[in-house]
Each structure stands twice: as C-alpha cells, then as structure tokens.
Amino acid sequence: MKIKSLLIANRGEIAVRINETAKKMGIKTYGIKTSKEPNALYLRLVDDVIVFAESMDEIPEFLDIERIIDAARVHKVNAIHPGYGFLAENPYFARRCEEENIIFIGPSASAIYKMGNKTIAKQIAQKYKIPLLQGSQGSVKNVMEAADIASKIGYPVILKAAAGGGGRGMRIVEKASSLEKMFRLATSEAEKAFDDSSVFIEKYVRNPRHIEFQIIGDRFGNYIHLGERECSIQRKHQKLIEESPSIALDEKLRKEMGAAATLIAKAVNYYSAGTVEFLLDADRHFFFMEMNTRIQVEHPVTEMVSGVDLIELQIKIAEGQELTLKQQDIKLTGWAIECRVNAEDVQAGFSPNQGIIEKISYPRGKNIRVDSGVTDYSVITPYFDSMVAKLIVHAETRDKAISATSAALRKFWIRGIKTTIPFCQAVMNHKKFKKGDFNTSFIEKEMGKLFFNDAEDEMLAAYVAAFDFAAELETNRTTKPDFERGKNISPWVLNKRLKSL
C-alpha cells in the first residue's frame, strides 16, 4: 500500500531527517508538539503539527502508545515512523499499529520482540552457529546465581539488562567482591529504564572493537548488508564518533561478518533496516552482541559511503515494495566519519549543558553533511537526550576524512551552550586514532585530555577577558551602570563604543 501520510513519533534531528526524505517522496508529514519543546525545529518543517498540549498522565508523550495511535487515527495517517529510542523497539507498539491498520515503519512486532529480548536473540544466534560470548542461559534470578556463573566463566564479566540498549543497565564486574553491588545497580537501572529488572551475565571481552553491520531485508526474503560501522569511540557505552568502513576489517572478514549479520536477520524474517552488533577482539574474532531493530543514530555514515537513503528504503519496504538492490550492486566508496555534537560539558565530566542556543552556524562543503535538530534560539531541555546535531564528513580515504572532519569542526560554531566539539577535535588529533589503533577503551585509556586546545589558547582567552574588563572600566567612567553586567555585550560592541567616545 502506498504511504500518503506519515506521523513521525519522534523529535530532534531524527524527526527532521525522516521528514526530509518523506517529503521528497511526496508524503504528507505530521509532527508531535509537546509542551516540553513547543518551539522545536522539526515542528516548523513538518506539514502538519499534532499538539499534545498537556501531559495527560505520567507517561512521557513519545512513549504514550495509545495517545500516538489515537492521534494517527484521528488524522487518518497511513503510517508511523518511530525513529530511534522511545517506541522504536517496542513490539507492543508495532503490534498496536498492525491492529489499527497503520503501517509501522520498521520490522514486524515478532522480530522486534525476538531481537529485543537478548536471551531469545542469543538462542537464535546459537542455533545458526554465529559466534557468541559465554554466559548465562537467559536472565539470572539473583546474586547467588550470578556469582555461580561468573566463577564458572571467569572474571571480568558484564551484567546487562535483558531488555536493554544504549548502555543503560550495564555493569562490568572485575572481581567477585564487587558483584553484589554491581548486580544491585544493574537491576535497579534496568527496572528504571525498561520496566524490567531482569539482567543476564556474560564473559566480558577487554578492549574490543564495536563493529556493527547495516542490514536491509524486505518481505520477500531478500537480504543485503551495506557494510560495517566502527563505533568504538564510546564513553560509558554511549557512542560519540562513528565511521564507515572500519580500519580493522579486510574484505574477507567483512564478507564473513556480513554473512553472519544477514543470517541473523533471515532467522527472524526481518524486514526494514536493522543493525547487527558485534564485538571484535584483538585476535579479530567476532562475537554477536545484539540486533537493533530500528534506524540508528549513526546511519548517515553508511549512507555517505553507500549512496543509499536508508529512510527511503524503510518507507518503500513498509509499503510492501520489493528490495531491488542486490548485494553486488552495493559499492562502498571512500570513508565517512560522524561526530555527535551533544550539549555536554566535556570539562565537567560530560555533564548535560542545558541552555539556549543563541546562535548556531554549520560548516559547509560538498562532502559535509550536518543532521541537526536545532536552530538559533533552540532550547536544550533536561527532558530529552543531549544530542543537538551530527556532523558527517565523507572523503576518499580515512586520513583525508579525519583532516576534513577536523577542519569542519573548527567551522561548527555555537554560542550559548557548551558541546562535545572540543572532544571530537581531540579525537581527530589523537595519534592512535589517526593510526586506527583504538578500541572501546580508547577514551578511558588513551586520552589524557578529553578536549582539544593549543598551548597558546589559554593566553588568548586571558586576553579576551582582560580586553572586556578594560573596556568595561572605560565605559563605566562615562556611561550609566550596565545592568546586564556586560554579559550580553560582545567585546566588539564595547570596542566600537570606546572608539565613538
């Protein structure tokens, strides 16, 4: 069935991203306006806005299944795109859409359920002889059982929320004595985040690389993969920089892992876009981790190297179209790097930096793509995650992509909030990152300083402060008190005032 109208059940940059492709395909788009972010950028771009004025109950707007379904029904919307996060991997939501004859842009409820439950996912992988890490068969009931398994497979072990994702409800246990505390933390975090406190335990691979494969399937049993993404630059299991391809893979390994990824997809009759995540150890053995049954934050790097619009494919497959691309049609060219620009203060342990973006300006260029959810005067609220934009740079080689990313970061200007730009710059300038010699412990072990600056930067900043102070002294002598305490006046304006005295 042709999709004529689409409700985007998400916000931020992904809502903007989905809207763009949908409009290009001639689909009427609907966005959800919440009281938490009434002036968000995506609301200005969609064709029609559905207002969720007051939070009717405790459930946050983008998690409120019945309210979203109801809105879709009232506006006679054909399809819902869940984006990532929120309801994207909620099998019940997908089922409710099916029941209401609304097309859910994603896989079937059963595929989401099977892959979302890590215990079932691992059983499936085992059945198809995909390499797995040793661990519990299913979730562990209590600390005693966890301790039992941990001593069998040996420390370190990792505790993971069975319903988890995005690093939440995940704890590494180095030794038996800290197991009890970690078990308590993991279960309570899992309970909080996913409403399901069950955790499982598995062998923890030290310093692995995080490699994931983008796969696409349709309802006719066609499956392809679009190569890998390297997402090893992470902090507390949150990805910060991604690239495609990975320097750790050669053609042979890529084929092997790609085949394993498509096999997993086939096993659950997967359709739509999906991601199969693997760990790659130092000896280049790979292990199946999990499958993400949604579009990923880092999908643009794959789009840059493959030239494929993943959202477009998702929509077409949801309409019931057959995948026309064959594996041999997929040619991956060059190298793409994505930097996540989060509203976080790197100098204060990546703590969220709320506030108002007074002004934002993006680098421009043929091979530069910026996926942004904000604009001038956008408010960074505490209600949602801290990502404001993504910078994606494409070049012929990895070296060129790194230097182009570094140059682009210098032209990514934001006033009003602190972001992770200085962090991304530090990674681009790191010797080991440039060499491709890194793994998931890179930030923790290899980066002494988490932000980039030159030796003379502090001096220049001191000059800015002294200049402003001196300028203010001058104006104080001649003008009325400055009730804004100079905060909103740029040194440039003060300078001009001085000259006009």
């Binding site: 939440r168 220049l460 000059y463 800015v464 402060a465 300028a471 740029s490």
Partner: protein
C-alpha cells in the same frame, strides 16, 4: 604612569590570574602595542556578520565567547573550551597576594552535584567517616546511575539531600570535614 610607594604602576596593565594561580600580564589591550607577559602579540578581536566573536592570532581564527562574568571573575569559551580568570589591576593583584598568605586552609569539603539529576540512594550517614574514593551516593541523570565519589577522607558533617530529591548542577549534596 602613577607612582604608588616606590613601584611604578601602569594603568594600562591587567593581570589575568588562572584558578591554579598562574598569570598573564596584559599591557595595552586596545593598542597595537599589546604585550602579554612582556612579549609583543598581534591579536585581533572581530565579529562576523552572523554575530559570532572571533580572535585572530597567527592567521588562525578562534571562536570566542564570554560565558560568565561576575565583577572581575570571567569564564571565557575559546573554540568551545572554558577558561576561568580573575582580572586584577597591578594594585589589586598585590593585595590579592597579600591576602592569600593569611587565608586559612579550608577544612570543610563541599560535595556538589556534577550534573542535574535525582538522588537515588545515600551510601553514607551523617557523622560516619568516609575515605577518599569511596562512593557516597547515587545520582541518576539522563537515566544513568552515577556513583558520586568523595574527593577527601573525613567525617560526614551534613547531608543536604535525601533519596528522591531532584538536584541541579553544583547543588551542595554533602559537607565533609577533613
């Protein structure tokens, strides 16, 4: 030039002091005779048509923003990195040095919230003793549970929060007596 005591004082001299007490002596900030720590520097400040302020130095452009300012205390963001300074005149700098000598070492350590969030669990009680590096409470922020660790060894003097409280950044959570 004025004479104060026996030393010459330059009215066009400003001293930017960093939190760890290193200093930049900036002379003639408005003139081409700008000198920093005695060396001549060619630094320009300008604003582009979009309203961003930049510093130009050795053909490199730096995005600059004053993010906080209270009297003579400044926080400057340069290429996204924060720097804090106290700006002193030569006279106030001398007074500062003098006062520092008599300042008592602070015995109470304030444990502040590193990020906004919700208090999940207290791991210590009032008047219990803590060791440096020990977890003292769990703060949930952005759905992550973070252990807050004591930076000092000592005795818990006061706890200002209880489980379930919502805190903002820099709220004092606990006071620990060294």
């Amino acid at each position: 030039m004025k004479l104060i005591g026996k030393k010459k004082v330059d009215e066009n001299e400003y001293i930017a002091v960093t939190p760890n007490d290193s200093k930049y002596v900036i002379r003639n900030p408005f003139s081409i005779d700008l000198k920093i720590n005695g060396h001549k520097k060619d630094i320009k400040i300008f604003e582009n048509e979009e309203g961003f302020t930049f510093i130009e130095f050795r053909n490199k452009k730096y995005l600059a923003e004053i993010t906080d300012k209270t009297q003579n205390k400044y926080t400057v963001l340069l290429n996204g990195v924060s720097y804090s300074f106290t700006i002193e005149s030569p006279i106030s700098y001398r007074r500062r040095k003098y006062l520092q000598k008599y300042k008592q070492a602070n015995k109470i350590e304030m444990i502040t919230a590193p990020m906004p969030g919700k208090i999940m669990e207290l791991l210590v009680e009032e008047s219990s003793s803590v060791k440096e590096g020990e977890s003292i409470l769990i703060l949930e922020a952005m759905k992550m549970q973070n252990e807050i660790i004591s930076q000092v060894s000592g005795k818990v003097k006061k706890i200002n929060v209880k489980p379930g409280d919502t805190v903002t950044k820099d709220d004092v959570l606990m006071e620990i007596e060294r």
